[in-house]
Symmetry: C2
Subunit: 197 residues, 2 copies
DNA sequence: TATTATAGTGATCGAAAGGTCACTTGTCAA
DNA sequence: TTGACAAGTGACCTTTCGATCACTATAATA
């Protein structure tokens, strides 16, 4: 029950921090959103900063679980069409999973203030995805699906445009449909460019 | 002299907001950084929010000046090498010009809170650059420098990876050199892919 | 049943926030 | 020289912030 409340606090904190940032969020609001009074929070965390630290711990752990090991690497697709489908599945997930969206927003807002957020932001936004697709592209080259090239460069060139549109969705959710369409169009164009005919 | 102070306040506000965000900045700090006392600010702006509004006005005006008209469009290059050189010149400027860096940071930090920041962020980070390069690519296709393709798609595919690395520099300035190298490598790879041999 | 640890309450604190106001200083036009 | 106005000062106001503490309710354990 204690642990339950602690988790609820972190979830509520993620929600508020992702909207207003760390500084913009106050403890009173956080506690009332959970149906308890301000001082109740301090039975579970000793300070506002302790909440922030725990939240970052959770985000880092979650990221490590999902992207840390190569076990979670999606299988190398057997066709370019399958590759596009896989991309779109991943995009849909990352755009619609609220927890992931909020995590991205928090990292965006706190990247200049907190060193761990800074580091995690780079992983989330750039290096993590790029490394993952580097491996996928290397595999696809072996299978003869795309032409031989530097897989790291291709991954970078593939991942960053998609990432830019994901950020656009975070910022302007009403453009989500457009963005998803654009991602698919980009993905097809990419395959048209680098795919083996 | 009055106008001078007003401008100085906005410049100091840009500096602080870009580091700590709007909420994280207090006007006592802002005023002492200018060598005056807190209440002095209120001789020039009626509230903290008025400073924010004026700052956004200035950013919007500045953006309109530089990117609004097609007069400021850089000339279509006469060779792919010139194209790369032009890209690198633009990148160096946008990474090292403090005002521009701070503007990007502020927009990053306030994009979820303020509608005008949201809109300007999308222009700065995505649509503005993409539109500019769409025109450049269209011109380069006419000159036979790059192969015929959808110029908007190429611009999007060219601009977003560079933008991602610029954001990386904003977040982790110690990686600036690496990032610039990577931008040039990407630019050359891009030309190797789409340039007419 | 008595004990004890824990979750939650409400009053309260000091610090810091944004903002106001009467006042002083400095500058320029008449 | 003087009057007027803008620029800047310092004391003070109210509100809100994060945080503390004595207290109560609850529920599991000995």
């Amino acid at each position: 029950m204690a642990k339950d409340t602690k988790e609820k606090i972190l979830t509520a904190a993620l929600d508020l921090f992702s909207q207003k940032g760390y500084e913009g969020t106050n403890i009173r609001e956080l506690s009332t959103s959970l149906g308890l009074v301000k001082s109740g929070i301090y039975k579970h965390f000793e300070s506002k900063e302790a909440i922030w630290d725990a939240l970052l711990d959770r985000m880092i752990a979650y990221y490590g679980e999902r992207f840390g090991s190569s076990e979670h690497l999606p299988p190398v697709p057997d066709s370019t069409e399958e590759f596009i489908a896989m991309t779109m599945r991943m995009v849909e997930l990352t755009i619609h999973d609220e927890q992931i969206v909020k995590t991205r927003k928090v990292l965006t807002l706190e990247q200049f203030r907190d060193d761990r957020a800074r580091e995690l932001a780079t992983k989330h936004f750039l290096t993590g995805l790029a490394e993952m697709f580097r491996q996928i592209f290397a595999g696809m080259m072996d299978k003869g699906l795309i032409c031989r090239d530097d897989p790291a460069m291709l991954a970078f060139a593939y991942v960053t445009p998609i990432s830019a549109l994901i950020h656009l969705c975070d910022r302007e959710p009403e453009k989500t449909e457009d963005a998803i369409g654009k991602i698919e169009a980009f993905s097809r164009h990419f395959i048209a460019t680098y795919g083996v005919k």
